[in-house]
């Protein structure tokens, strides 16, 4: 868990200075950077930011999120390009290149049960030290873990996860950074937005502050440091692996 630090400040556009393009956001990323990412399988990972990371060629990324995407989608594209050194994920089953890199010792993968991973990220975002769960008891997941008793029941202590950087994809965002997700592209995005010191949100549609219904907002703008507008609506999704 990284303690919250003050984000470096880019000069953005818009009423709150948060609106940047993907290329400008790259000033935040450096070789060896640790990054949380939203997304689940083929959807919910910001494509323009992945494009920019590919173009800039940022290397030795350490990434935390649900899975390794597909070779053609999400963080799978960074993995295919050899830009990822370490991944904390729940599975890499949809990305054969990631499996190959893991088997070849090129990609250091740590597997965490999906719900535990989501909750550890949320705990990081919520300023908590970790979570207490019995998922994984009686399996190799419990090996080496601290065990805590509460009211006579055993729980594994799974430490909170934060990262200096986080990238998310939303459907609509306003200039203050309030975000609305769409469908199951929501997935890990809201918790990633909570748990990174600097959050860059890519949005399909950017609106002025005040246009979103406050009751509909999924991620309050206070969690969001930068907004990258213009995310394309995908024309299709990859064939599922099964």
């Amino acid at each position: 868990m990284t303690a919250p630090t003050r984000p470096p400040r880019l000069a953005g556009e818009g009423r709150y200075g948060k609106v940047v393009d993907a290329a400008a956001a790259m000033a935040l990323f450096h070789d060896g950077a640790a990054m949380l990412f939203g997304g689940f399988g083929s959807i919910g990972t910001p494509p323009l930011l992945i494009d920019a990371l590919l173009e800039r060629g940022v290397r030795r990324l350490r990434i935390v999120g649900n899975d390794a995407g597909y070779p053609s989608h999400g963080v799978g594209r960074l993995i295919r390009a050899g830009q990822v050194e370490q991944a904390i994920v729940s599975h890499i089953g949809s990305n054969p290149i990631a499996i190959q890199q893991m088997n070849d010792g090129l990609l250091d993968v740590t597997f965490v049960p999906q719900g535990t991973l989501a909750e550890r990220i949320r705990a990081g975002g919520a300023g908590l030290g970790g979570i207490l769960t019995d998922v994984g008891e009686g399996t190799e997941v419990e090996e080496g873990k601290q065990v805590v008793e509460v009211d006579g029941r055993r729980y594994l202590l799974e430490p909170a996860l934060r990262a200096p950087l986080g990238i998310v994809l939303a459907d609509v965002g306003d200039e203050y950074g309030n975000l609305v997700y769409r469908g199951t592209a929501r997935n890990f995005n809201p918790i990633v937005a909570m748990a990174a010191d600097v959050v860059v949100a890519e949005v399909r549609t950017l609106v002025p502050a005040g246009e979103l219904d406050p009751d509909r907002i999924h991620t309050p703008g206070a969690f969001v440091d930068y907004i990258v507008p213009g995310s394309p609506v995908p024309g299709g999704i990859p064939a599922p692996k099964t």
Partner: protein, 236 residues
């Protein structure tokens, strides 16, 4: 009726009206095709949705709507979307009624081993540990033996576990087994096999407790049959 269809159809009848149900990848997915329409089963996927409708026709997919297996899905009247943390809060918090899962091995005390195949590293457990361990009831659907003829129902899993003591009911093409503290109880058998036939290909003790019903008869009656999987044995 082929083996997979028999298993899927039988499992579908175990699902209860009003239940929230997660279907695993592969054979369990077929169960969705056989749920009796009068049962209002609400399907769940751990990427963050409750209320899953059928795969849309090609070209009509919503690019923002997939299940945990990456397949396009549609909405139904009950549909709610949420984030992945809330999805697993539902599961761990006890609101997931039934998980229907495949497996590599399952033991006679309900241990499930489904995430690490023999030899070679695994691609990860995904959400399988939570679904197996935390659904109020876990049904395991599996062919009775592997293609190589190895048993899948075993006395003790030699593969790494997904969750210990998790399965309540096991459905194969040969029978329906309830997992009890005393071990497996055969509740139903396929018409083509006898109880002894089942025992002959199952390398652990298989008890009976009352009549062993024919699975195909249960399908014809269209009701839940001899067990709802919530009896004493297994976690319910």
């Amino acid at each position: 009726m082929d083996a997979r269809e028999l298993i899927a159809r039988r499992a579908a009848l175990l699902l209860e009206d009003g239940e929230l149900v997660a279907l695993g990848i592969g054979l369990p997915t077929l169960v969705g095709n056989h749920i009796p329409p009068e049962r209002r089963v609400v399907l769940f996927a751990e990427d963050g949705i409750a209320g899953i409708g059928p795969r849309p026709a090609q070209g009509e997919e919503d690019v923002d709507l997939i299940n945990a297996g990456g397949e396009p899905i549609s909405r139904v009247p009950e549909t709610a979307v949420f984030d992945s943390a809330l999805a697993f809060a539902l599961v761990r918090g006890g609101r997931l009624g039934t998980a229907v899962l495949g497996t590599m091995q399952v033991s006679d005390r309900g241990d499930i081993a489904s995430w690490k195949a023999p030899g070679g590293p695994s691609p990860g457990m995904g959400g399988s540990m939570e679904l197996a361990a935390k659904a109020r009831r876990t049904l395991v659907l599996t062919r009775h033996r592997t293609r190589a003829g190895e048993p899948k129902i075993v006395e003790r899993c030699d593969l790494p576990l997904t969750a210990p003591r998790a399965a309540s009911v096991i459905v194969t093409e040969l029978g329906l087994f309830q997992v009890t503290p005393q071990g497996l109880v055969l509740r139903e058998r396929a018409r083509a096999v006898s109880v002894d036939d089942v025992r002959a290909v199952t390398p652990c003790r298989v008890e009976t407790d009352g009549p062993v019903v024919v699975m195909e008869d249960v399908l014809e009656r269209g009701v839940g049959g001899t067990t709802d999987g919530r009896a004493e044995g297994g976690r319910v």
